[in-house]
């Protein structure tokens, strides 16, 4: 009985501490920098899971420590065996099994299914008529971004490096393909790449021979210069150039975006 009470107290203290720790970590922004609504969804999902799991983690950790200290064999004890011998405890096992099933069902309903639901919705065609469309082509080992709605065939900065500009508070539809624009006839040259912008909270693999889509909703003005997580990064190993497959991203106001478009068009016609 005493053990149960002591343990319960320790467990509660441990849970509170952990809740506080997780909360603090979340406040601090430990989970990626977030600049899109999709990224915020992910942040909420992590916070939710950790909040629910804190007592569970605390239970196991406190249990391990408590057992280790409280039930250790003492020096000079001649009798090796424990006095308490039991094979089972229906209540404990029953609660354990039910709680673990319950928690998993909960996590499946929320955040897994609920967040996915939201994602599916955001991908429905009727909601995406106004989207800014960006054609993304990955070749070994380079990104190409083109904006068909604006006639920009390959967005570049002053140095000729690929760069991605997006207006804030817009739905963006990325059209993802993997091929080599200069060697389209070579079927062996296409490999799988991964299109990832850490600050946007999701990634999508790009499969040679297929077209894939990724949708985000930009939510703050930011750029690679503000936070290095605002970058395009290839995440699927694609050969020796894989680490170099990155490109800066700029999320700018609608006005700035128009200015940028004009500049690009001018650059292109020169």
């Amino acid at each position: 009985m005493l053990d149960l009470v002591l343990f319960t107290i320790a467990w509660i203290v441990g849970s509170v501490l952990l809740e506080w720790l997780f909360h603090a970590l979340n406040q601090y922004g430990t989970y990626f920098y977030t600049a899109s609504s999709q990224a915020v969804d992910g942040e909420h999902a992590v916070a939710f899971i950790l909040t629910i799991l804190a007592p569970v983690i605390a239970f196991v950790v406190v249990m391990l420590i408590y057992n280790f200290i409280r039930f250790r064999a003492r020096a000079g004890d001649t009798n090796l065996r424990s006095r308490h011998q039991f094979r089972t405890n229906k209540l404990f096992i029953g609660v354990w099994v039910l709680v673990s099933i319950g928690l998993n069902l909960l996590f499946f309903v929320h955040p897994s299914a609920s967040a996915l639901e939201q994602m599916f919705n955001s991908e429905q065609a009727r909601l995406n008529r106004q989207d800014l469309e960006v054609d993304v082509v990955a070749r070994q080992w380079q990104w190409f971004f083109s904006y068909p709605q604006y006639g920009i065939s390959s967005a570049q900065d002053a140095n000729g490096n690929a760069t991605l500009y997006l207006p804030v508070n817009r739905n963006v539809k990325f059209v993802l393909r993997s091929y080599d624009p200069w060697h389209t006839y070579d079927p062996y040259i296409g490999v799988i790449h991964g299109f990832w912008i850490p600050a946007f909270g999701l990634k999508q693999d790009i499969i040679p021979g297929e077209t894939r889509y990724m949708y985000v909703h930009t939510s703050k003005v930011t750029s690679y210069d503000v936070n290095p997580m605002v970058r395009v990064q290839c995440t699927e190993v694609c050969g020796p150039g894989h680490p170099y497959m990155e490109a800066p991203v700029h999320v700018v106001s609608a006005g700035d975006f128009q200015t940028w478009v004009k500049k690009q068009l001018k650059l292109q016609s020169d």
Binding site: I49, L64, F120, K203
Partner: protein
Amino acid sequence: MSSTFAGTSESFLRKGRRMLPPVVRGLFWAAIGFFVVNTLVSQALDRTPFAPYVTKVSVTFGWAAATCGWLLGLGAWELVVRPYFGKPVEWEVPNDWRRYFMMSLDHKVVGLQYMVSSVSGFFIAGLAAMLMRLELMNSSLWTFPTPNAYLSTVGIHGTIMMFSFGTVMLVSGFGNYLIPLMIGSNSSAFPRVSAISQWLLPAGIITVALSPILGTWTTGWRGYAPLAEQDPNGIVFYYLGVFAMTLSSLLVSINLTATILFKRAKGLTWNRIPMYAWGILAASLLNIIWIPEIEMTFILALVSNVASLPLFAQIGTPLTYMEVFWLFGHPEVYIVVVPAFALWQEFLPVMGQKTLFGRAWGVLGLVFVMMFSGLVWAHHMFTNMRDDQMLPFSFFTEMISIPTGFAFLTSIGTVWKSKLRLTTPTLLVFMSMFNFLIGGVTGVMLADPVINLQAHDTFFVVGHFHYTIIGAMVFTFMAAAYYWLPKFSGRMYSEFWGKVGAIWVFVAFNCAFGQFLLIGLRGMNRWVPVYPPYLRNMNFEISLFAFLLGLGFLFNLVHIVWMWRYGKPAKANPWNAKTLEWQSTAMPGETNFNPPPEVLTGFYDYSDEQPVWKPESPVEVS
């Protein structure tokens, strides 16, 4: 027929038949096999322009010939080929150190051979990890000459760790040594099978470790097509090496499954089967199903690579390799951890001298994990599948944490109110449970698609799987090494240095891999020797802890090897355990049980002092 045999028995007694030492003979035959076949293929059968001596095709056949030569030289000639032609089996194994350098039919010798091969694999791959961490101390290329060299090192690290250590140590190493002992048998079911399979393992390790000689490869441990199709010949050695290593595990699994089902001592009924045997049974069944699957996949990739078929290229089906790889890949991780779970349930009752809690739930957990493991593979592929396919895989992935939790349930229930001896194995099991808890929590997070799409292919995932593999498997392996050291060597380790080693590894591990998780959340992606400079400081620090971890493993190795030779002599049953392996004092080369034991009760009940076994009364004395 009997006369045939009586006739040949004369020749048995021919003494001093001269023969090269088997390892030398194996190397020699392997070299001959390679040169003959490679020359034949590259210079005659499949001559290409300029006739380079080594081509993708020739090296494949040359390797196969070399491996056959290696196995034949080590004893398969006497044990398999001569009997195949009807000649009697004649194989002499000197009863001294030399028995470790040839095929042996003693499961204890085979177990030790496996352990040594496997630990060598661990340290070779560990060295690769140290080199990787050295490179990552700087955000630009400085340790390796090219990104390719780094990527090959990642691949070698992952491949050798998984296929020569993770999958092998607890199943083929400890399993071969201990399973026959624990079920009261004098031998495994098919001793020749394990004798042969052991020697495939070093062949595989060497093949993968030396693969860069043929050219660096970039795919990582998955060897995944279509990228692999661009790689130079090194990738061929990846496929071949992994093929050898997995074949080794497959053969052992068939042998151990048959052993557990058929070689049990009298009275060792189904409900008395040791927990470790359950773990091995579950892992073996996974091996038997999934290893042939992945081997066929490797062959498909190898053939389409060597013959340059467009199977997985853009005009073929580029995602299929990944799919069939992960179809195996996920069960693979349970092959790694299930025996570890079983070992928790093996050690804790002994160390606490208390009856195992909820034994049926423990077994159920192992079996359900095994069955679920085939249903979750696509969670490795959320970033390249259709949306509606995500939910079922997410569901099963989350559900698999339930049977996994049973391992915690039984362990915690067992130590509650026990009299826990705080020995090094106990400490390591507790550390292992803590680490796996973190692995499990990060796993539940990754099962959630929204989080997965963000964290996939970052160091968060790398941290997660090292927490599960090192956390659960390596720590438990260390516990097992200390626990059974007195059994293997007859000597005891030093409790003080054992604990120092455990705490050292635990602290270094958590400091290094805890930060893997965090740096992943800051945008560090995988397979990169070069990364944006803002990640440098954290990487630098992680590397320091990684080196500390590497030294910690080395320290434990030195401690164990030292005590193996110079430790204090141990009692026959130092932990006062009830399981059968402690009831035999047989060393390699000796009979385990003579006469065979008869089991009287289960092994995990510490409530009474009744003997668990008695010698089986001899049926008739001849």
